[in-house]
């Protein structure tokens, strides 16, 4: 039987991290990985730390505390910039999972099919890590390095996700594809944030998940979208060549070839949803 620590302050939590602990938040990834066996991890439960809770905003942008759950995100009044992330939140498991699972847990678990990653990439999100030596901030794209791998050091906690305020009015959207309607691990998903000026795309951030070990931004497509009018024709700007950063695989959910094909459709529809 392992130890269990549930600190109420960040200092206490960071102090404990001089030795290795398994961090526990909503438990929705933790427990399913431990079915039918004794749990002997030393657990650092971060859900009682006030500093990790809640969503706040300042001039720079928004701060989503690490233990923000999917439901809390959905219930918080936020500008249209967050519509895509909220759409993703509504499709993470069922209501039971959304009430417990956290955004930060989704990122730290670093599944290739994590639904939180593409919309946060498309928001240009940054990760704030805290350790006893201090805190550091890095882009989400630099945080997740592989299938279930992140740069988080054993002595660090993810304390917040930061979403910078875009230079112009912006909107976002998300589309998920699975083999059943609800409660499904994504075959592929796509997220987009468009900054809009004079009815045209001034800047775009597009990310696709479950088609590579880590969700990828599609820089070529982002570039191709600049200047596009927000009419249904915007979807036609998607070209199979834009998918170069993706490296889909065959698995029980779908074939690699299908993923390549389906992503084009998802992206076209996603972009048309802005018109």
């Amino acid at each position: 039987m392992g130890d269990y620590l549930r600190p109420t302050s960040l200092e206490e939590a960071l102090g404990a991290l001089i030795r290795p602990w398994t961090v526990l938040a909503g438990g929705t990834d933790f427990y399913p990985a431990r079915v039918g066996r004794a749990i002997d991890d030393n657990l650092l439960d971060i859900t009682a730390i006030a500093a990790l809770r809640g969503i706040s905003a300042d001039a720079e942008g928004w701060r989503l505390g690490a233990t923000t759950t999917w439901s809390e995100l959905i219930e918080t009044a936020l500008p249209p910039l967050f519509d895509g992330l909220k759409q993703a939140a509504r499709e993470v498991g069922g209501r039971q999972i959304q009430n417990a699972g956290t955004l930060a847990g989704n990122l730290c678990n670093a599944s290739p099919a994590a639904d939180g990653v593409p919309p946060l990439l498309a928001l240009g999100a940054e990760i704030e890590l805290a350790g006893r030596a201090g805190t550091r901030r890095l882009p989400l794209a630099a945080f997740i390095t592989g299938n279930r791998r992140t740069v988080r050091a054993p002595g660090e906690l993810l304390v917040a996700i930061h979403v910078p305020k875009p230079a112009r009015p912006a909107r976002s959207a998300f589309l998920k594809l699975g083999a059943r309607r609800y409660l499904v691990i994504s075959i592929a998903m796509a997220a987009a944030t468009l900054e809009i000026e004079d009815g045209r795309v001034a800047a775009a951030r597009i990310a696709v998940g479950a088609c590579s070990a880590v969700a990828q931004r599609l820089a070529a497509l982002e570039a191709a979208l600049v200047g596009a009018a927000l009419d249904p024709g915007i979807g036609d700007r998607v070209d199979a060549a834009h998918l170069a950063p993706l490296a889909p695989i065959d698995d029980v959910r779908a074939s690699a070839a299908y993923r390549r094909d389906a992503v084009v459709t998802l992206l076209r529809r996603l972009l048309r949803s802005f018109s």
Binding site: M1, G2, Y4, R6, L24, G26, G27, T28, F30, Y31, P32, V35, G36, R37, A38, I39, D40, D41, L43, D45, T47, S71, R90, G93, G94, R95, Q96, I97, N99, A100, L177, A179, R180, R181, Y182, L183, V184, I185, I187, V252, R253, A254, S255, A257, Y258, R259, D261, A262, T265, L266
Partner: protein
């Protein structure tokens, strides 16, 4: 750690490791077994509770996070025994079937209603968790119990429903004695391997026992008396991934704490035989040493002359393939055993108490009378709980150690160890004349029966009889064969192979109809088997063949759907709709084999009226159905009956809950038992057949044309009525000629689907199901069976595929949720079966059989793609759509 919190409005205290799952603490330590565990992984929703008013999966919440918070469980819904409105509504709508997921659904619904007092269907779906029994069943059941003589045909709410909606029903894992030892089974990670055991001494020193093959008195079991091929514990050789090798017995925490690395097994893996081609290759190694060519069994039906194909004006041909399908009952296998002097007593979830008793007696080398089976409530079976699972290990351990011993499978263990639906490859050729009259068919069905025989022979026998479909067909050759592989044992699963065969025959019918330009429904109507027709087995159907009536009932729905779909498709975008139709017939009961049921009804000296039913209710409703039947046969109201069910010491053998046989066979026995008791009472009172009975305490009044006889039961003593029924069948000859079943159910379903042609996804929008059930003893329960069958048939068609080692949980293995299940309309056709109770037949399996064919036909109608392999995962359909586009 000490945890103080609020539980259902009251202060509660708990102590234990804070990492303990809330679900485990509630069940194991706080005695609230209403919260069920179906997966321990957040997938099934059976453990849903509210934490500070928000629904969560109790299997994912550490007790450490509960401190200071409020938990509400199903037990809190009816605090002083009065059902909440929601619970009553679940009962009235027949929303609880087996009841295993009911507490979770109630808690999720409570949460939804707190946020949204009158939610739309969409909002319900957004909240939806996995639901086998669809909540959309909207036919109100009668809440007032009917009077004497009016039970049959009534929409009676399930008589055993209250414990299901209050969480008090006791399933296999719910009443394990506190002093029980627990078993953890060590299973093979390899599909085919030899192994040797190292020194078990260190493990034995830590545990109460470590069981090996050597501890099993007779180490072979199986459904058929002459095929006891499956070891309880493998002996040096494993034949599938998940096969049991060792049983660790000890305190629960101790057996769980043993690390895999501490278990001394040296494996020598061998290349496994996966699939029919591997098993039938000329150089294939044998799976079972005594089964040459890996062949389990083959046989078929021959009638007329296949040369008739030469005269056909249209012919169709195709090969169709299906996958291993998991039953995915929300209750994993569970139970406990104890030794009582020289008897062993098994409390477990099962579909077949008497077969379990005899099989355990064989495994333990005990006389059958020394084994008592006390079935718990069964949280879904679908055929998967017809085979032994936990029973032999708990029995052997309890016998050996003299202490109660429990075993509850985990979800991955249940999925790896239990039987599956047989993967099939069906090669079919059908021909008809220019008028669309069927002339000939030639069907070969090859099955992958996995590592052990299980119910493989039943499947291989049943399919050839049904493989031509429910049509008059003068020239027939059908063949069924099953081969051993290193896949999981394929066994019984709702329909015994007929759903696979129906995919093939219905596709053939569609192709023929399309070739001749005949409407697909009308083509079927033209060929439907009718009373007076002769089947391919040479059996004349004297009565109750209502397929034509089913099709007539569907006709207006079909025509409307065709025109709606045409209007929708005129949009010409990526979404295309289609309408499909599937027909089926299904022989009720065992194939050409005796399968009697005996039922008893007793009136005790104190006036207690008891139905002793060996027929197990696994959610389909036999507890209610049997009572309705016996009540009317006896002439007393349903409300006066108590029920004793399943216990082999207290009830007679009513056979297994399978083959859609309980209503027809046990129902008929119940009817006879009721009549028998009535006769005895009338004789005592010297009353005529039309007398009416009233029971008040120990006083039984018999009124006969104004004369009232009063019987004092205390003086009369207890009375017992008994009835037995064995459906009349005959053996089949070498050409499959004979009478395989006494009666058949018939059905036709139509599906309306929408295909996203760019993504290959399919949404079933609506199904209309017409079923000839002979007589609906309880229409609400019949509809529940049809709706559940459709949900499972949809899974077979669109998403379910068990791959050993890859889809062993409920997030990689997908079953339909409420968001996938369409709106369903049921049309009940009652073409009376004279042999059945009040004319009834069965409906347990028929609900599923036509569903996949109807969906596949609708996909073809929408896209032009004829699917030859299920499940039609999005990538498979998209590839087929692209390939077709390339051809054009």
């Amino acid at each position: 750690m000490k945890v103080a919190f609020t539980l259902n409005g009251h202060a509660a205290a708990w102590e234990g490791p804070p990492v303990t799952r809330l679900a485990a603490a509630l069940r194991d330590d706080l005695g609230l077994i209403g919260t069920k565990i179906g997966c321990d992984a957040g997938d099934c929703g059976a453990c849903t509770v509210r934490l500070d008013g928000r629904q969560v999966c109790a299997c994912l919440v550490p007790m450490g996070q509960v401190a200071g918070h409020g938990v509400e469980t199903v037990e809190g819904l009816a605090p002083n025994g009065r059902l909440a409105t929601l619970q009553k509504s679940f009962l009235d709508h027949g929303a609880a079937q087996c009841g295993i997921c009911t507490p979770g659904m109630l808690m999720a619904a409570t949460d939804l209603l707190a946020r949204e007092p009158s939610p739309s269907r969409r909002q319900v779906e957004d909240d939806g968790k996995i639901v086998e029994a669809v909540m959309a069943a909207c036919t109100p059941a009668e809440t007032v119990l009917p009077a004497a003589g009016a039970a049959v045909g009534a929409r009676l709410a399930r008589l055993d429903g209250v414990p299901k909606v209050t969480g008090r029903d006791l399933f296999g894992a719910d009443a394990v004695p506190a002093d029980a030892l627990w078993i953890r089974v060590v299973r093979s990670p390899h599909a085919r391997a030899r192994f040797t055991l190292g020194d078990l001494g260190p493990l034995q020193a830590r545990l109460a026992a470590v069981l090996t093959a050597a501890d099993v008195p007779f180490n072979g079991y199986g459904i058929y008396p002459d095929i006891k091929d499956q070891p309880v514990l493998a002996d040096g050789l494993v034949r599938y991934r998940g096969e049991a090798v060792l049983a660790l017995v000890g305190a629960r925490g101790e057996v769980l704490a043993i690390r895999d690395a501490e278990i001394p097994i040296a494996w020598t893996p061998e290349p496994p035989l996966y699939g029919i081609d591997a098993a039938t290759a000329s150089d294939a190694p044998l799976v079972q040493a005594d089964k040459p060519r890996n062949l389990l069994l083959d046989g078929g039906v021959k009638r007329g002359d296949l040369d008739a194909f030469t005269g056909c004006d249209a012919t169709a041909e195709g090969i169709f393939e299906t996958a291993f399908v998991e039953h995915a009952y929300i209750e994993p296998e569970a139970g406990w055993a104890r030794r009582v002097a020289d008897r062993i007593e098994i409390h477990a979830s099962t579909q077949t108490p008497y077969m379990d008793r005899d099989e355990l007696a064989s495994v333990m080398r005990l006389p059958p009378e020394s084994v008592r089976i006390v079935p718990t409530a069964c949280g879904g079976g679908f055929g998967g709980k017809l085979d032994l699972s936990v029973q032999p290990l708990i029995a052997i351990a309890a016998w050996k150690l003299g202490r109660p011993v429990a075993l509850v499978y985990t979800r991955p263990e249940s999925m790896a160890a239990s039987t599956k639906r047989h993967p099939a490859r069906i090669k079919a050729r059908f021909g008809c004349d220019a008028a669309g009259k069927l002339v000939a068919c030639d069907v070969s069905a090859t099955f992958d029966t996995g590592a052990y025989a299980s119910w493989g022979p039943t499947v291989a026998n049943r399919v050839p009889i049904h493989a031509m479909g429910p049509y008059a067909m003068p020239n027939v050759r059908t063949w069924g064969e099953a081969f051993f592989t290193n896949g999981p044992p394929a066994g019984a699963f709702r329909g015994f192979g007929v759903p696979q065969a129906a995919i093939a025959h219905e596709a053939m019918i569609d192709v023929l109809a399309d070739q001749l330009g005949i409407d697909r429904l009308e083509f079927r109507h033209r060929n439907a088997l009718r009373a007076g027709d002769v089947t391919a087995c040479g059996q004349t159907l004297d009565h109750s063949a209502g397929l034509a009536q089913c099709l007539e009932a569907l006709r207006p729905h079909w025509r409307r759907a065709l025109s709606d779909v045409a209007a929708f498709n005129a949009r010409g975008d990526a979404w295309r709709r289609g309408v499909g139709i599937g027909c089926m017939w299904y022989g009720i009961g065992n194939t050409s084999m005796s399968n009697p049921s005996t039922m008893r009804v007793g009136l005790a000296a104190d006036g207690t009226l008891t139905l002793y039913s060996g027929a197990l209710d696994i959610g389909q409703g036999s507890n209610t159905i049997m009572t309705q039947i016996v009540a009317d046969a006896l002439g007393l109201p349903v409300g006066q009956f108590t029920l004793v069910t399943g216990d082999t010491d207290l009830t007679a053998d009513a056979g297994k809950t399978s083959a859609s046989r309980q209503t027809f066979v046990s129902g008929r026995a119940a009817e006879s038992a009721g009549r028998d008791l009535r006769q005895k009472i009338l004789r005592l009172a010297n009353a005529g057949p039309d007398a009416t009975l009233t029971l008040d305490g120990a006083t039984l009044k018999v009124s006969d044309g104004g004369v009232v006889h009063t019987l004092d039961l205390a003086k009369v003593g207890s009375l017992m009525g008994e009835g037995t029924f064995d459906p009349p069948t005959t053996p089949l000859d070498a050409d499959g000629q004979g009478i395989p079943y006494a009666t058949y159910a018939f059905a036709a379903q139509i599906a309306i689907v929408e295909v996203d042609t760019e993504l290959g996804t399919v949404k079933v929008l609506r199904m209309v199901a017409a079923h000839d059930v002979g007589k609906a003893i309880n229409p609400t329960l019949v509809e529940g069976q049809i709706e559940g069958g459709i949900a499972q048939g949809l899974g077979l068609a669109l998403m379910e595929e068990y791959l050993p080692g890859r889809t062993e949980n409920l997030h990689d293995y997908l079953i339909p949720t409420i968001g996938d299940v369409p709106e369903i309309e049921c049309l009940l056709i009652e073409d009376r079966e004279p042999l059945g109770p009040s004319g009834a037949k069965g409906v347990g399996e028929p609900g599923l059989v036509p569903t996949a064919p109807a969906i596949l036909g609708a996909i073809h109608h929408a896209t032009g793609v004829r699917v030859h392999r299920v499940p039609v995962l999005p990538h498979r359909l998209r590839e087929a759509i692209l390939a077709q586009g390339a051809k054009r």
